[in-house]
């Protein structure tokens, strides 16, 4: 395992933006005093006249992005998830969502893995908020390659897109020829006793859990779900029919995220028992990222434990 390459999905965003900027000149980028952290700085270096720093003023930035979109430009607006999705929520809802404008909101530092900054910055509600906006596409790539491909897919799909990116370097498991399609999930390991559906940083943890389970004689399906909305319902149904037991994994509140999206689909179309691994109804705390994640059971070990208990029931 020594040759695993680790990169943060936000790095894929920066690279993807730069590639996109070279290909299309109507790409413009906005940031709110976090160009270094969100990696829009990479685009800025290549195309300084198409990068606009808005200062620490996220609400204004979202409406500026909306205005830019009305002139035919495609604005990628970035900040931390806490400030892009949450502070500016109503601006996103009314000035981007409602008029269905072609704005791509790319939010880094999603989830618990901001670590030491603590609860004020640990954003575990962004997916819930964005899911509630009609017409909003929500992407949550799992590695650097997927993030880079998702940037291009977001550009090519008209209308509002919210993309969640992570701060932490995580293993890159997709190869360069991976084809990313909005609305499609991916079976990483087949199995019939339980299906693990994960998104973002939890996908690699789910892969590790799937392997550990196999070694222990448990036959688990592992699914990467990089689009939260629209959800790949057919894949969810396939997994439910095959395994009869679903475990969802996300670095997000168990309220309103991937887990609840899966539950909604299943309860209406094919009632199936589901266990949701995520952040329970509570705030986080400061600690190094992997420690916070472990504190909330957001790790392969806990996925294995939950799956085994679930199967034993």
């Amino acid at each position: 395992m020594a040759d695993i390459i680790r990169k943060a999905t936000r790095e894929g965003y920066g690279r993807g933006l730069k590639e996109l900027g070279a290909e299309f000149d109507n790409v413009v980028v906005l940031d709110a005093d976090l160009a270094g952290s969100t990696k829009t700085g990479v685009f800025k270096k290549a195309f300084p006249d198409r990068h606009f720093n808005c200062g620490i003023a996220e609400a204004n930035m979202m409406c500026v992005a909306a205005g830019l979109a009305t002139t035919g430009l495609v604005a990628f607006a970035s900040s931390f998830a806490m400030f892009a999705a949450e502070r500016a929520f109503e601006q996103v809802r009314n000035s981007i969502g409602y008029p269905r404008l072609n704005v791509k909101i790319c939010a880094s530092h999603g989830g618990m893995s901001v670590g030491e900054d603590g609860a004020s910055h640990q954003c575990c509600e962004d997916i819930a908020l964005m899911r509630s906006i009609p017409g909003m596409t929500i992407l949550s790539p799992a590695d650097e390659v997927e993030a880079r491909k998702a940037v291009r897919a977001a550009y090519l799909q008209p209308g509002p897109v919210y993309m969640r990116l992570g701060r932490l370097a995580v293993p890159v498991f997709h190869s360069e020829d991976y084809e990313f399609v909005i609305g499609k999930g991916e079976i990483l390991q087949d199995g019939a006793q339980v299906a693990i559906i994960a998104t973002g940083l939890m996908v690699y943890e789910a892969m590790k859990a799937g392997e550990a389970l196999r070694e222990q004689g448990v036959d688990a399906m592992v699914i990467n779900m990089p689009t939260i909305k629209p959800l790949d319902e057919e894949l969810v149904l396939h997994a439910a029919k095959k395994s009869g037991k679903i475990v969802t994994c996300e670095e997000h509140s168990t309220i309103g995220g991937l887990g609840e999206a899966v539950c909604s689909t299943l309860s209406e179309r094919y009632p199936t028992r589901v266990r949701r691994i995520g952040v329970p109804d509570q705030f986080g705390h400061s600690a190094p990222a992997w420690e916070v994640l472990a504190d909330f059971g957001l790790c392969a070990e806990n996925i294995v434990k939950v799956c085994k208990e679930f199967i034993a029931e």
Binding site: G55, I56, A57, D117
Partner: protein, 281 residues
């Protein structure tokens, strides 16, 4: 303030700066630059201005301080610890699993912290609410809040200023740490908020602009603020980001980065030398 008292403050400010370095070095992350630029105002507030008692941190009659630029918690914690709200040794637990010293101020876990902050632009509005609530109930306590000069790019800050002037919150002092830097560079290059003093005055605040590292000027400004009736006060503190640690001064990169071991040692040596010099005076 006698020269003796002034020297005592300068000595304490040195200790606060050491606490900032120790906390961020232990955590291997955090925000030293803006903590150091504000170390003198933290020191003055907690050692000369605020009517607070470490034995009764929730006393309803106490003065309040809201650190609107919450990322500079290492500075606030260092001042609170030295003032006796909790042990100075605990500064080494900053940002670690299980510590009450959260990365950004948490009023539920840290004794002496009056408001949970970290999302820029919000603390100043909370301070307005505190000032209004105290006034409304006839409690003569005062409220102080400190903002970053990048933070004032948030529109909410100006909503708060309008509110403070409208309700004549003369028990409120809004301070801006004008260290000139934010994360992406100099504030006038990222998104200029200048002229800061004129803007605050136009919003109806009684504005003073001072050297934020000069205790005589700080004292005079806060005394003037206390004597000002019928409108809220604003003080723009001209400061140096990273003040007191030579390699951090005026360098944007030290906004949110911890010193490594060699850097920590050098910084502590500089501060210890400054402390020895003050104590010898």
């Amino acid at each position: 303030m006698t020269p003796q008292e002034k020297r005592q403050l300068e000595i304490m400010a040195c200790k606060v700066r050491m606490g900032i370095l120790t906390g961020t070095y232990s955590a291997k992350c955090g925000h030293p630059g803006g903590s150091l630029s504000a170390a003198d105002i933290f020191t003055y507030l907690y050692f000369r201005e605020l009517n607070v008692d470490p034995a009764a941190p929730k006393d309803p009659a106490r003065d309040r301080f809201v650190l609107s630029k919450g990322h500079t918690a290492p500075g606030l914690y260092a001042a609170l610890a030295n003032r006796g709200f909790f042990p100075v040794e605990d500064l080494t637990t900053l940002r670690k699993d299980g510590s009450y010293l959260q990365g950004h101020p948490n009023m539920d876990s840290v004794p002496g912290v009056d408001m949970s902050t970290g999302s820029l632009g919000q603390g100043v509005s909370c301070a307005c609410g505190m000032a209004l609530g105290l006034k409304h109930q006839g409690i003569p306590a005062r409220v102080y809040t400190l903002l970053g000069d990048g933070e004032i790019q948030e529109g909410q800050v100006w909503e708060a200023c309008m509110f403070a002037a409208h309700y004549k919150l003369d028990n409120l002092v809004i301070m801006v740490d004008n260290n000139g830097l934010q994360i992406d560079g100099w504030i006038q290059d990222v998104m200029s908020p200048y002229p800061i003093g004129e803007k605050l005055a136009a919003f109806g605040l009684a504005v003073q602009e001072i050297d934020g590292h000069d205790f005589d000027q700080i004292e005079a400004a806060l005394n003037t603020a206390r004597a000002t009736k019928g409108k809220p006060s604003a003080i723009v503190l001209k400061t140096v980001k990273g003040k007191g640690v030579s390699y951090m001064e005026d360098v944007a990169d030290w906004h949110g980065k911890a010193p490594n071991e060699a850097e920590y040692r050098q910084g502590m040596e500089e501060l210890e030398a400054a402390l020895r010099e003050l104590e010898a005076q």
